[in-house]
Amino acid sequence: MAMPSEPIFVSVQTHNFCLNEQQQALFKSCNANAEIGAVASFVGLVRAENNIMEAGSAHSGKLRALYIEHYPAMTEPVLRRLCEQVLEKWQLITCRVIHRVGTIPTGEQIVLVMVGAEHRAAAFAACECIMDHLKTSAPFWKKAIFEHDEHWVAAKQTDQAKVEQWSD
């Protein structure tokens, strides 16, 4: 299998992204285009429902946006290492991760994971594996901005349990 010129792309950015453009970029960045038999992608969005907070926590009004903070010196290296590990584990041809930071209104995209592999099983699994690890290891923090107040979102135990399923 010919190796792609830039198999991994990682971006932490304030601006939105276009899924079609990202798929074109995935093919363009990869000179082994013809080897790709499967592309799987995951896009996470800001849900308008306000059940983002733990049950019983008080908040006021509708969810307007999420504010996402990160640790700039650490975030991209963590995401890049994660992509390298998953690329090797699932023998991917290419993968890309985009995560937005700053204030993101409801309905907008937050995160993209897109992978190219020879077959669908590896593409589906790798995509999910990257997301599960991203949620528990990449230094991002979400704050829910409601109409009348705002609250930091607590980490979910279910996310931790999910990532542990991937340990060999």
Binding site: E69, Y71, M74, P139
Partner: protein
Amino acid sequence: MLSVKYFASLREQLGCNSDNVEFVAGETLAQLAGRLANKHAGSLSDIQQPTTRCAVNQQVVELTVVPVDGDEIAFFPPVTGG
């Protein structure tokens, strides 16, 4: 000296995102967290929560780790990205 960074709820609770503190040889990160809580009396109590995470030079480590002079230390709550 140690450069200390705070993120998310810890940053907000303290009202600033970084701190420079004297290096104390042999001090663990848990002990450093206690020293920082005392330094910022009342405004950084969450740093000693059992859920608080720590990174040294951008690598997540246990609070039993002993940093070396000049390290960049970060304290933060569990991550919630994605």
